[in-house]
Symmetry: C2
Subunit: 397 residues, 2 copies
């Protein structure tokens, strides 16, 4: 779910032949007039602005679109270099390419010479699509907690609305990792005729009790920060400490015992002997987490963090079969690829296999791979070579 | 490390023939006069008050003492029912028996008809032994962060000081789980001639990088709570929200994915459908964690939490062999029992086996058991029947 993986990678610039080059986010507004957007959890919202990027071109048959779904704190900027970084939360853009630049570009596994690639920021997030920090037209101030609860179902519905707008009837593929994998799955379940292929990486059909527990602690940490002010903090610094704690905690769950041990072990931070301080930084791993959290709070909105984690909590694909996952899977018409990673303990391989087994029982076409990796949940962003081969092979004409 | 395990147990009262009955904590003061207590990390402290309990009687040969070491947030009240609960942090006492009442009593595995059992609260804690909330004689106010950093080595040294005071030269056994297992190990390493038998449950010879990371987040959460006031919060409520977050987080690490799944799954808290709220409680597991944290903050001092977790961070038994664990283990003269639990991910079985392997390589007498359990780190307090059989067998004359 974090967009930066442990090992440093070769990053190429916008001039590289395999880069989509400079990109510019686009926006479209739905429900400006007429009835509001009806949310699955009961709320209503109008207008609904969606920020998205596209790479490559839609072919005349309009059958080459690939919809990419981002993870918890991701955005629409999946590939290339942002031409126009704007807004305080987007300051990190431009400094590095889109979060899935490894996978998307001319000649890359999701080949923009062949595909028309669309990536949209989800509802409730803070990167251009309407969310808690957007202005509430009823008050002229940011929504804060007045923002309605959003669900993965809403993201799927809004994704299709955007595809309608772009003239895409049927997706060649819906693709996503982690939370994005759940959105891709939801799109294939909600409108089976509109998704020909489905790629799900590092994602379960729902979160387990331990994942719910970690999300609960993260939210608790934000909500109980004195800077939270019941979500109405936009004039001040906001719950920065609470959001930092939440991010540090979440970051641990994206890695693994093995990768942390391998990368940091028990090494001290820039010294041979501890300072023996109850409150300072002693170990490298402490310093790393604080650094990560520091850059995170500068680029993410705490209210969005609450709404995003809640949406992940609520998601359970088996509800399409009234609790029976096989019945849910029977809805699918997509040919599917599911990949788990051996050291992922947020969506462990066993959980991924439950979905795959249900697909098999329902007689659906599915390829499943459990990839040996020490990089934990983040492996889908880190194991570039393996994931590249996998996606390239699956999307081969 | 939590003192309450998942499944409800049969608890018997103080009148039961296998109970040590009503107990009363005792205190003794060291370093009232003369030179101060020299701490391993460099600090000095005087006076040093130690709260402890004893059960059973020291035999004339003075060779039947068993020293029990408590876990992170435990205390000296290992068995029986406290006769005199006192102080705000001890209010929870009296309502339930000592934290290891299952193991200690007449006819129980650590049989008080046979053994003289001693359990002392560790330095830096908040249950009677000198710690950050104790009055600093230099200022007449609580130490707060002026309290010196304590280490497991200090606990071992102070344990022996208490044993001197009680007239015990050599322990029949040092016993502990989790952090207590580290203290027991440290006692056997620091003064090998004084520990005949050693029992270590759910403890590693040091904490791994992931454990360091979780402790760091917990401390960060406390320190960045606006109520923390650099540790000088004793006139006010203190960093209650930060300490709650720390405890909720730690609590997850004491359980396991499987036990959380088994106990709570994704069940909603007292309702059939979610309320769809970004900030309220939806799932049982959220409610459980908040409840646990609520009772914890009423009974534990945030500064102590910082010092205790730091001591655990710093501990590394291999320093006795200059980083070579086998050389360290060669110091041991105790006959040892080490038990890990299959689902413990804070001190995973592989980590426990590193110590056992080092003991074997050093030619030391060690029995090792990896106990299949779904209860995670807390299993040493939960798997009563198995642990009873194990300890009973190991201590058999």
């Amino acid at each position: 779910m974090s967009i930066d993986g442990p090992p440093a990678k070769d990053v190429h610039g916008p001039e590289h032949p395999q880069s989509v080059g400079y990109t510019r986010a686009r926006k479209t507004v739905f429900h400006q007039d007429g009835p509001p957007f009806q949310l699955a959890a009961g709320g209503r919202l109008a207008p609904v602005e969606v920020e998205y990027e596209t790479y490559g071109a839609l072919n005349p048959a309009r059958d080459n679109a690939v919809f990419i779904c981002h993870a918890l704190t991701g955005d629409a900027h999946a590939a290339g270099w942002d031409e126009a970084p704007d807004g305080p939360l987007k300051a990190f853009r431009g400094k590095k390419p889109g979060w899935w630049d490894d996978m998307v570009g001319p000649g890359k596994p999701i080949d923009t010479r062949r595909f028309f690639v669309v990536c949209a920021n989800v509802l409730g997030s803070c990167y251009g699509t309407t969310g808690p920090m957007s202005l509430n037209p009823a008050t002229g101030r940011p929504y804060g907690l007045a923002f309605p609860v959003v669900t993965v179902a809403d993201w799927a519905a809004l994704g299709f609305k955007l595809l309608d707008h772009l003239g895409v009837d049927r997706l060649h593929a819906a693709v996503g990792g982690s939370m994005g994998g759940q959105q891709a799955l939801e799109m294939a379940l909600a409108q089976p005729d509109r998704v020909a292929n489905l790629i799900i990486l590092s994602a379960g059909f729902r979160l387990g009790a331990q994942g719910l527990a970690f999300n609960a602690v993260a939210r608790y940490s934000i909500i109980n920060d004195s800077g939270f002010k019941n979500g109405d903090y936009y004039g001040g610094p906001g719950p920065l400490a609470g959001l930092s704690t939440a991010r540090m905690l979440a970051h641990i769950t994206y890695l693994s015992e093995e990768s942390l041990g391998h990368k940091f072990g028990r090494r001290l931070q820039g010294k041979d002997k501890p300072d023996f301080t109850p409150v300072g930084v002693e170990f490298e791993v402490e310093s790393y987490l604080q650094h990560q959290a520091g850059s995170f709070v500068a680029r993410y909105d705490a209210n969005s963090y609450l709404y995003m984690t809640r949406a992940v909590d609520y998601y359970d694909a088996s509800t399409w079969g009234d609790g029976d996952l096989t019945r849910a899977a029977a809805r699918l018409k997509a040919r599917s690829l599911v990949a788990s990673f051996s050291s992922d303990w947020l969506y462990p391989p066993e959980l991924c296999r439950e979905l795959v087994s249900a697909m098999c029982r329902a007689g659906r076409a599915v390829t499943y791979v459990d990839i040996p990796s020490r990089y934990g949940h983040d492996a889908f962003l880190v194991e570039t070579e393996t994931v590249s081969r996998l996606i390239r092979g699956f999307l081969r004409p």
